[in-house]
């Protein structure tokens, strides 16, 4: 059976409150479309999936090959980014003819029907970071940042089930499996930079140039956010998707951790959207879930996996000693003894 549309986000337990806000706000405005969470973590009975605003899938049950290697190679954040193409492919091949991926830190503010309506005519629909040269004091700096991070934002991706899309998703998955890091000097920026290839690689790739879709810190000043009652507009268009990339509820007056000097107060009427989002996160249990442990943060015997472990493992390439499951600690099975995180400290 094939159903038309679904939406999905990806998070580990510590970010469950963010996923809840994304799911609940999506369902409020799009009640007929099912919403999934792919948990890049183990549930560990911390929450009851039946009482959540999403349908739960665990990352290790959606057919990602060598998922332990992926989970070991990348830290919590990068791992959740790296599974994006796998998640889209899974939902498209299993059941749905069109899927919307939303990154965990999203607030849906209006119906997305006008976008889903366009999806059957396209393979992919992407949103650019910029719609025109920035009007900021240093537009070239801003354009260079975008060129090096990727011209399309990885937080909103519409995909429909076409042969082109499935081929693209496999290609994208291969690249994120290999290189899901930030090394902008070498051209890499997590999973996002690979989207630059999309208009060349797939037929009918639509670029959504609607200012109300995917508003975030990178284009906030261009979008002129206005509030009248419960209606929020961006550059005159209904604001449908607002993104809080890098927002930290511990610093509610910071727009994003990426530019700590920018304050929410200075964002005009958008400040109200931030404070609304802040309250929603608190209501969804942010203060509690933030402390929930990350299952891929420890070896099987409970000792922590350090950043140095992950780095060395990632750099070891396809060498013969690479174990099937690097988290294992039984003698002769894992890799911990071969990785030496103490090395390099003087």
């Amino acid at each position: 059976m094939s159903r038309p549309f679904a939406a999905v986000t990806i998070a580990s337990k510590a970010y469950l409150s963010l996923a809840r806000v994304t799911a609940r706000s999506f369902r409020r405005h799009n009640p007929d479309i099912p919403f999934y969470l792919v948990l890049t973590d183990r549930c560990d009975d911390r929450f009851d999936p039946d009482r959540e605003p999403f349908t739960l899938l665990c990352a290790d049950e959606i057919g990602i090959p060598d998922i332990e290697k992926l989970a070991f190679k990348y830290d919590q954040q990068a791992f959740s980014y790296a599974v994006t193409p796998f998640v889209l492919r899974y939902l498209l091949t299993r059941e749905y003819s069109g899927v919307l991926f939303l990154k965990q830190e999203t607030l849906v503010l209006d119906s997305l029907a006008p976008l889903f309506d366009r999806l059957p005519d396209h393979s992919l629909m992407l949103t650019p970071h910029l719609l025109q040269p920035p009007r900021s004091a240093d537009p070239v700096r801003c354009e260079l940042d975008v060129l090096r991070a990727g011209v399309f934002n990885g937080g909103v991706v519409f995909a429909s089930r076409t042969a082109d899309t499935l081929r693209f998703l496999s290609w994208w998955a291969d690249h994120t499996f290999r290189t899901c890091r930030v090394l902008v000097e070498d051209g890499f920026h997590y999973e996002q930079r690979w989207l630059d290839f999309a208009p060349g690689l797939v037929d009918r790739c639509a670029i959504i140039r609607n200012p109300g879709v995917n508003v975030g810190h990178w284009n906030l000043t261009e979008r002129d956010i206005r509030m009248s009652g419960s209606r929020i507009t961006a550059a005159g268009e209904p604001c449908r998707i607002f993104r809080f990339s890098g927002y930290d509820p511990d610093y509610p007056n910071r727009v994003t951790k990426y530019t700590p000097e920018r304050t929410v107060d200075s964002c005009g009427e958008a400040a109200a959207v931030f404070s609304m989002y802040h309250q929603m996160l608190i209501d969804e249990g942010f203060m509690d879930t933030r402390h929930w442990p990350y299952a891929y943060g420890r070896f099987e015997d409970g000792t922590p996996v350090s950043a140095q472990h992950r780095k060395q493992y990632g750099e070891s390439g396809e060498q013969p000693y690479r174990p099937a499951n690097p988290f294992m600690t039984e003698p002769g099975t894992g890799c911990r003894n071969r990785l030496n995180p103490v090395k390099g400290v003087r």
Binding site: L131, F168, D186, F188, R193, D196, F197, G200, I207
Partner: protein
């Protein structure tokens, strides 16, 4: 009026290339006028029987061009002039303009491609059109992340307010930042084109690998139905791009990747030798060594890359906007100051290093 012109920008050393491209346009599309902007102050070098219409630097000279001609080397100047050429052709009255690099060759009619260009504000061709996973392709894709998704050899533009806005923006960026510093996000004109689908509503991506086929398609190149004409992934090559072709090293596929093996693909060997022959007939030997006109100060001294670099720094800080070609003394002085400062710094570092060991 719905009409299209093709144009290219060259220095005099590329005259034979432009002639060969012009003749191939005359063969397959005799109805399409072909314009060549020759970056050279001498105006009379195009004879009446050239297979193109000449645009001279006077026709397009803008207020900042002197500065651009000094701060950039030849390749930078030629690429920075692409949006200027396109806007010039649209201003001349053509409803569409197609920029092709001069080292391209038509192998067949391209009517479908022309009508795509005519029906969109902007038309670009991507380097890769199909996902693949072989090591050579992965290496190429890693390179493209730094050099740009769309090939700068093919840019179609049609008259539309958004197109002019885009061409002005592109031209502004190239006036100031036509650098080749791939790790910082610059690759001549090309990397900026990645923003085109963001900035223009009606930007279309032409995904036929037979249009603008180049060394980046090497893994997909095969023999076509016509023994003289290769194909890529089943599409016959109709517009070939000899990017990086070096007349002094004609057996090499491209000077950008000397290790790439052109001779492995027999069908390419034939195409390359035909192209070389056509270049020779078009006067390659007489034109190839033509000097770049803007490589000397007004006092005859040669402009070095260091001079250009000093000048870039100078205008970055808005220190001097007077004609740099008259500034040999100043720029040479700055260079010597810079290098002596560097030497002093190195000596100090060595000294400090010695103290600590």
């Amino acid at each position: 009026m719905n009409n299209l012109a093709i144009g290219t920008v060259i220095a005099p050393d590329f005259l034979a290339f432009a002639r060969v491209l012009g003749r191939s346009i005359r063969t397959y599309h005799p109805d399409i006028p072909f314009f060549v902007l020759i970056a050279d102050p001498q105006g009379e070098s195009a004879a009446a029987d050239e297979p193109f219409f000449r645009i001279s630097m006077e026709d397009i000279r803008g207020p900042d061009l002197t500065s651009v001609l000094f701060k950039y080397d030849m390749k930078q100047v030629l690429t920075a002039l692409k949006p200027v050429l396109l806007q010039h052709l649209l201003d001349k009255g053509f409803s569409s303009a197609l920029h092709l690099d001069a080292d391209m060759l038509l192998l067949d009619r391209i009517d479908d491609c022309i009508s795509v260009v005519q029906s969109h504000s902007l038309t670009l061709t991507p380097h890769v059109q199909t996902p693949a996973g072989d090591p050579a392709r992965i290496a190429l894709e890693h390179q493209l992340l730094l050099t740009g998704m769309y090939n700068g050899g093919f840019i179609g533009a049609s008259r539309h307010p958004q197109t002019s806005t885009f061409l002005t923006w592109w031209s502004d960026r190239l006036r100031d930042y036509c650098f080749d510093d791939i790790h910082a996000g610059f690759h001549f004109d090309q990397r900026w084109l990645d923003l085109a689908p963001s900035y223009i509503e009606d930007c279309t991506i032409l995904r036929d690998p037979g249009i603008n086929t180049g060394y980046w398609h090497l893994s997909g190149i095969e023999s076509g139905d016509d023994p003289d004409r290769p194909a890529v992934n089943g599409s016959p090559c109709r517009l070939f791009h000899f990017s990086g072709f070096d007349p002094e090293n004609p057996d090499q596929l491209t000077r950008y990747y000397p290790e790439m093996d052109a001779l492995g693909a027999t069908v390419l060997r034939k195409l390359y030798s035909t192209y070389r022959m056509q270049l020779n007939e078009a006067g390659l030997a007489e034109t190839w060594n033509s000097p770049w006109a803007w490589d000397r100060f007004s006092n005859g001294k040669r402009i070095t890359p260091e001079h250009r670099y000093s000048y870039q720094k100078l205008i970055q800080h808005h220190l001097d906007r007077s004609n740099p070609f008259n500034q040999w003394g100043l720029l040479t002085l700055l260079n010597s100051l810079r290098s002596s400062r560097r030497a002093l710094r190195q000596r100090l570092q060595k000294h400090r290093g010695a103290r600590h060991t």
